[in-house]
Symmetry: C2
Subunit: 141 residues, 2 copies
């Protein structure tokens, strides 16, 4: 099943309404790319000039509440969003700013629900920073 269909189902199931704005936001998120809220707003504004930032944030909040959207706290400036909610590593290139998915080390997912030193783990984020393959080649620093 497509992510899109699953999200639509879960929205209705929970009594949330499906609006063209929400659908557009979901479809954009489905493309991956880990957009920031501002990016989502800007890209969708072209097609829906009346779209407001409040709606973007509202929709993201709803999807987060459903547990269907991960909020990546990897850049200091802004949150990025990811429909993939299973724990995995992210890599942020300090040169081109691209945010790439890396695999998940075996055991990362098994952390969820466990206790570490008495603290109950509900979410895990592994963020790696450096130079991506492309930038390492081209720039030589």
């Amino acid at each position: 099943m497509e992510k899109r269909e699953r999200l639509i189902m879960r929205l209705k199931e929970q009594g949330f309404k499906l609006t063209p704005q929400r659908l557009a936001i979901i479809e954009l998120l489905e493309e991956g790319g880990h957009p920031r809220a501002e990016e989502i707003y800007e890209r969708l504004s072209r097609r829906y000039p009346m779209l407001s930032r409040a709606t973007v944030y509202n929709t993201l909040e709803v999807l987060k509440g459903l547990g269907e959207l991960a909020e990546l706290r990897i850049e200091p400036q802004a949150v990025r969003y990811d429909l993939e909610t299973k724990p995995h590593c992210h890599f942020l290139c300090r040169r081109c700013g691209r945010l790439l998915d890396l695999g998940a080390p075996r055991g990362l997912e098994r952390l969820l629900g466990k206790e570490l030193e008495g603290h109950k783990i509900e979410e895990v984020q592994v963020s790696l920073y450096g130079l991506c393959a492309d930038c390492a080649k081209e720039g030589q620093e």
Copy 2:
């Protein structure tokens, strides 16, 4: 050697000036607690009412540049700071908001300098979220 002395040495070594403001900021950071910039500003303002936010941010920037300060991107709202720059895990309690140090899994430090799928790793942050031991006991959710 104390962290404080090491930082003073490194500042002078690199031609940076040591000012009372910077010393105070360093001493506060030495206490740990992973303060936010605003927290540093507020706490030091009591003793140094003329202190400005710009100076706080400036000093944090200098210490980051020296590689002596880690910038924790673990909360969406604000960056937290940590004089411990060796990679280790952090735990943020969603109830009380405390940020705790957890140990580093063997192998975490060894990631630095390595390549993963062609990407050169320069920094690692592992952030865990959930309920801390105290909150899990008291609140029962």
